[in-house]
């Protein structure tokens, strides 16, 4: 995994890996160092497990937006077959920050929708850094309503810094597009499974995240605002993200206690970015299990259950 995107706290791991590499070179000269190498490899694994089991909230936020973290199209690639991407909101355009389409999940036809980020500069720009405009949300809604019409379950992948704050977005009704999705998803008469896979950035995330089951990857985050945005308001200093992350408590481990998500999906040791296939496997297992449970419910039970689920999300004093 030699790459340019190692996070600060991954450095000890990378250094040890370098050492192993150097040692292995010596083996080429005929030296018998197999035992040493395997001992060191054991240490690397241990170190990785230790570091990733004790990530701070700020570190988790870094992992959640790691450039090599799997994105929606990666999950589609690993978990679905026969994907046919469908484009456009039938109104203004096609938003590349949200992808969606028909696919088979364990042979069952489904509608899959998710935010899409890019890895290299060109693709990042093409995907608008995963920040949708109103067209993206309207495309998503169109596809969800199509799913309802043909009785297909909806599976969404959530990974966005937030909805795009631009002039055009405001002019074309960013707020209205998000709001409409919230209302329509609440009453959609087909199962909806939501997977929070990276950054769950406020309203821009929620607009495709109202569902019957909310699954969240172990090192992803979900909050009303990004740590940097929060820091800019509260400390008038966008660099105080670390403090803000602690205050916002945006990790899966924080959020499950509030009843906002149903299940934490394990990532491979060292984070999802180290092994897309293993991550997708874990996610696929969780989706399949939840989908099987939901498919036993009538449309009325689904919608009523979804209402009660969000209805219960309250902490106040009476």
């Amino acid at each position: 995994m030699a790459n340019n995107f190692n996070l600060e706290f991954e450095k000890p791991i990378v250094e040890l890996e370098k050492k192993i590499e150097e040692l292995s070179m010596l083996a080429l000269d005929g030296l018998d160092i197999a035992a040493d190498v395997s001992a060191l490899e054991g240490r690397v694994e241990q170190m990785r497990a230790d570091i990733f089991s004790g990530l701070s909230r700020w570190q988790t936020a870094q992992v959640a937006r790691h450039i090599n973290r799997p994105f929606t199209l990666d999950y589609i690639n690993h978990m679905f077959t026969d994907f046919t991407e469908l484009h456009g909101d039938r109104n203004f355009g096609d938003d590349h920050a949200i992808v969606g389409g028909l696919a088979r999940f364990n042979d069952q036809p489904v509608m899959v929708i998710g935010h899409q980020k890019g890895r290299d500069t060109k693709e990042k720009v093409y995907r608008n850094f995963g920040m949708p405009n109103p067209e993206g949300y309207r495309k998503a809604l169109r596809l969800m309503q199509m799913a309802e019409q043909f009785k297909l379950p909806v599976i969404t992948f959530v990974d966005t810094p937030g909805a795009y704050p631009g002039i055009g977005a405001e002019e074309r009704g960013q707020a209205e597009a998000i709001a409409r999705n919230l209302r329509e998803m609440a009453s959609l008469r087909t199962p909806i499974i939501v997977c929070i896979t990276g950054e769950g950035g406020s309203g821009g995330a929620l607009a495709i995240a109202v569902g019957d089951r909310i699954l969240m990857l172990e090192h992803s985050v979900y909050a009303v605002i990004s740590p940097e945005g929060c820091a800019a308001i509260l400390w008038s200093d966008g660099t105080k993200g670390e403090q803000a992350a602690e205050a916002l408590k945006p990790t899966a481990q924080d959020i499950i206690k509030l009843g906002v998500i149903d299940e934490i999906v394990k990532e491979p040791i060292g984070g999802a970015h180290r092994d897309h296939e293993a991550t997708a496997r874990n996610m696929k297992e969780a989706i399949a299990r939840n989908l099987a449970e939901l498919s036993k419910l009538s449309e009325e039970e689904l919608v009523e259950g979804r209402y009660n689920k969000f209805r219960a999300m309250t902490r106040c004093l009476e």
Binding site: A175, L206, E228, R315
Partner: protein, 284 residues
């Protein structure tokens, strides 16, 4: 990330300076520069009688002006917020709640009442911007949801009068979820064929705009009200260019098809009554 923005504190401060009716006998209107008697403006629902400039108005005063006299009943007035995340910046959230409650007005940022407008019974939720900038946390979401559920149960129209900087950061993910919860309740109201009227007043931004405030069967705005998703400063920082004149003002939203109509405060009650009577025949 984007919509709960840097701008919030700024909006509160600047508007507080500009748009509240100043104390003292005489005041210069920022709209027309006329020198006017403060009592004259007050008597006109905080609207300048010369040029129509809308100053902000206290939530309860607005209710008095909107509803039939002495017939309204407040619900859930005692619910208060809790600092369940132990959220702390310069002050803890609990301290901020206590300070806001100690002002002696509302116990949180929304007031929910059952009243009547020219005899039509309605459920009204109105934001109190003086309570933490009208931000929406669990209490606001819960009270609004109950208000919509009462409307559903009693087969009455629901009205929400918004004035809010958006979701309340100190409740993090749960404040975000109030957007989904309230919108889900509106889905039920719609299915039941009952009217929902959203009135957007200055300012309505962020998570409040991106949920119930944009979901009215009618979206009604007050003149010049700031209405948007992202705050102007966040947008400027993102796109690195100046925003067009009048951007995110009520008239701009009307031009772009996001609100049905702009109604001056002084005409709101009569116009609402007329609309409600056309949309809704009360169950007898």
């Amino acid at each position: 990330m984007s919509w709960f923005n840097k701008e919030k504190a700024g909006i509160e401060k600047s508007v507080a300076k500009k748009s509240r009716v100043p104390e003292g006998m005489w005041t210069k209107c920022p709209g027309c520069s006329e020198t006017l008697l403060a009592t004259e403006i007050d008597a006109n629902l905080n609207v300048c009688p010369k040029c129509g400039h809308h100053y902000r108005i206290a939530a309860r005063r607005r209710l008095e002006a909107l509803l039939d006299g002495a017939t309204w009943q407040e619900f859930d007035a005692g619910i208060t917020s809790v600092d369940f995340l132990e959220f702390k910046d310069a002050k803890s959230y609990q301290e901020r709640i206590n300070a806001a409650v100690a002002k002696g007005g509302s116990k949180d940022a929304v007031i929910c009442v059952q009243g009547a407008i020219e005899g039509v019974n309605v459920q009204v939720s109105i934001f109190d911007f003086s309570f933490m900038g009208g931000s929406m946390g669990s209490v606001v979401g819960e009270k609004i949801t109950r208000s919509i559920e009462r409307a559903l149960h009693l087969r009455q129209p629901a009205i929400i009068i918004s004035a809010s900087g958006g979701a309340r950061m100190q409740e993090s993910i749960l404040s975000l979820m109030q957007m989904a919860k309230t919108s889900a309740a509106l889905a039920k109201l719609k299915e039941a064929g009952l009217p929902f009227i959203s009135i957007l007043t200055d300012p309505t931004t962020g998570g409040v705009t991106a949920s119930f405030a944009m979901l009215g069967d009618l979206n009604i705005a007050e003149p010049k009200a700031l209405i948007g998703f992202a705050g102007p400063r966040v947008i400027e920082q993102t796109i690195r260019q100046k925003l067009p004149e009048g951007f995110q003002r009520a008239e701009y939203l009307l031009d772009h098809g996001m609100v049905d109509i702009i109604i001056p405060r002084t005409e709101m009650r009569a116009k609402l009554a007329s609309i409600l009577k056309m949309l809704h025949s009360p169950a007898i």
